[in-house]
């Protein structure tokens, strides 16, 4: 049976729990390696990636999280979660560690500071209608590996187009925060992904 964990170290994990609960999925907050063992899919919320990374390191969660990804469990990261899932980051702290797993290079705070936060209607591949996407001090993707599928891009004012939603195997990441809207389609998409790779966490 699917049991989705939500990494609850810092950030808007409560909103992710609400979005998943609305889809009738069993949800468990994850704050330590023991709790990670009880789930077979994981969501990494929006927050400050430096804070989440440091707290994960301090409670000894970084390596178990890397193993979780390597073992093929489904993981979805929004905003800071995208940074955590990226193999490479730009404009992070020099000692900032990620979990990795998606072969992308992500630029932190790429869209700018708090005042540059915005909402927009985004076309997502394989989704019938546009998605209202909320970007808060958001990252974007600057390099995409050959195994990575781009599901959405955003064109900036100076006509630069950057991926903002990507998938590689069982890993999904968005620059924006679907958990802050009432539109649960991305969470639904992730739950379907997780069910299709459905594995037992031993």
């Amino acid at each position: 049976m699917l049991r989705v964990g939500v990494l609850a170290l810092q950030g808007d994990f409560r909103e992710h729990v609400n979005s998943l609960t609305a889809l009738n999925v069993a949800v468990q907050k994850v704050r330590n390696p023991e709790e990670l063992k009880t789930v077979n899919a994981l969501v990494i919320p929006g927050g400050e990636s430096t804070t989440i990374s440091m707290l994960a390191k301090r409670v000894g969660l970084l390596d178990p999280l890397r193993k979780f990804v390597k073992d093929g469990f489904a993981v979805y990261g929004s905003c800071a979660g995208m940074i955590m899932l990226a193999d490479e980051i730009l404009d992070g702290r020099s000692d900032q560690e990620t979990i990795g797993g998606i072969d992308i290079t992500v630029r932190r705070n790429a869209f700018g500071r708090q005042v540059d936060s915005f909402e927009t209607d985004l076309a997502l591949k394989d989704f019938k209608n546009n998605f209202r996407a909320v970007f808060i001090r958001a990252p974007w993707v600057e390099r995409v590996g050959s195994e990575v599928e781009v599901l959405a891009t955003y064109k900036t004012e100076n006509n630069q187009e950057h991926p903002v939603m990507v998938r590689q195997g069982a890993l999904l990441a968005t620059s924006f925060h679907p958990e802050l809207t009432n539109d649960n389609r991305i969470h639904e998409y992730f739950v379907q992904m997780a069910k299709s790779v459905s594995r037992v966490n031993s």
Partner: protein, 279 residues
């Protein structure tokens, strides 16, 4: 996304770096921490733009800065510097004794203090994007933060049981817009995040405030007025995440050295209390 995080007062780039290293989700740039504002007296104002620029250049997390209550120009200056949030703060000497800043005229989000639900809703109607319970800054005494958080949460709980007619009179008593009062009654919480501030000095203080329903914590003098700021900052961050796990609180509370020396609020004359500023 600041939720579940700790925002730390810093007075220079070095402290800002310590705060970021410890896992702060944001820093508050100011010239003197509240404990020193108390000690030194005089008029407390917006910080030097040079100092704010330097802190913005030093850290990758959001930078907040304080403007005096009602000081529109200080807020305009801070917005032009590119700070991520402005705190219209009672810790600085108020510039206007009856009007707060019309925060809707700004693109930068504002955080404001509140001691009760009516005050919080007045600030939200002026455009505040974030509320913090005021507490009594610079005392290292958590009692006022507890009082204000319990008052706000209690005020909200009371609204939930009321019917539509009663909400009109509740709005009148709270001196707050009816539409916001209805929204709070429906949501069972504020329509913006509710952080806590004022007097938090230990990991257990931070965890207590989270248990009382705060979305996150501001720590002012408590860190850099203590014996070992680096360890205390880390400990408060960890305690805020694991606020309901006493074993973690116990572990991070060990060997932190001296906490800041506190002040008992009941011997503090009314003229020296910050929480009463703001209307």
């Amino acid at each position: 996304m600041l939720k579940g995080g700790v925002i730390m007062d810093v007075i220079n780039a070095e402290q800002a770096r310590i705060a970021e290293d410890a896992g702060a989700v944001a820093v508050m740039a100011l010239e003197r921490v509240p404990a020193d504002i108390r000690k030194d007296g005089g008029v407390a104002r917006m910080s030097d733009p040079d100092m704010i620029d330097e802190i913005i250049a030093t850290v990758s997390i959001p930078v907040m800065a304080k403007a005096r209550i009602g000081h529109i120009t200080e807020a305009q200056v801070l917005q032009s510097l590119g700070v991520d949030y402005i705190d219209e703060s009672e810790v600085l000497t108020p510039a206007d004794e009856s009007h707060h800043i019309d925060k809707r005229q700004f693109t930068v989000p504002f955080v404001c203090g509140a001691t009760n639900l009516g005050e919080a809703l007045r600030r939200i109607s002026e455009g505040a994007a974030m509320i913090r319970s005021k507490g009594e800054a610079g005392t290292g005494n958590v009692v006022e933060a507890v009082r204000h958080m319990r008052t706000i949460r209690g005020d909200i709980a009371r609204l939930k049981g009321l019917d539509k007619e009663e909400l009109y009179s509740a709005a009148k008593n709270l001196q707050a817009p009816y539409e916001l009062v209805v929204q709070v009654a429906e949501l069972g919480r504020l329509p913006v995040v509710l952080f806590t501030a004022g007097g938090i000095a230990t990991p257990a203080d931070a965890a207590l405030m989270m248990q009382l329903g705060a979305d996150g914590v501001f720590v002012g003098s408590g860190i850099f007025k203590s014996g070992d700021p680096v360890q205390r900052a880390k400990a408060i961050v960890e305690a805020t995440t694991n606020f309901d796990d006493p074993k973690v609180i116990a572990r991070v509370s060990r060997g932190l050295g001296e906490a800041m020396v506190g002040i008992n609020i009941d011997i503090l004359p009314a003229s020296e209390r910050f929480a009463g500023r703001g209307w």
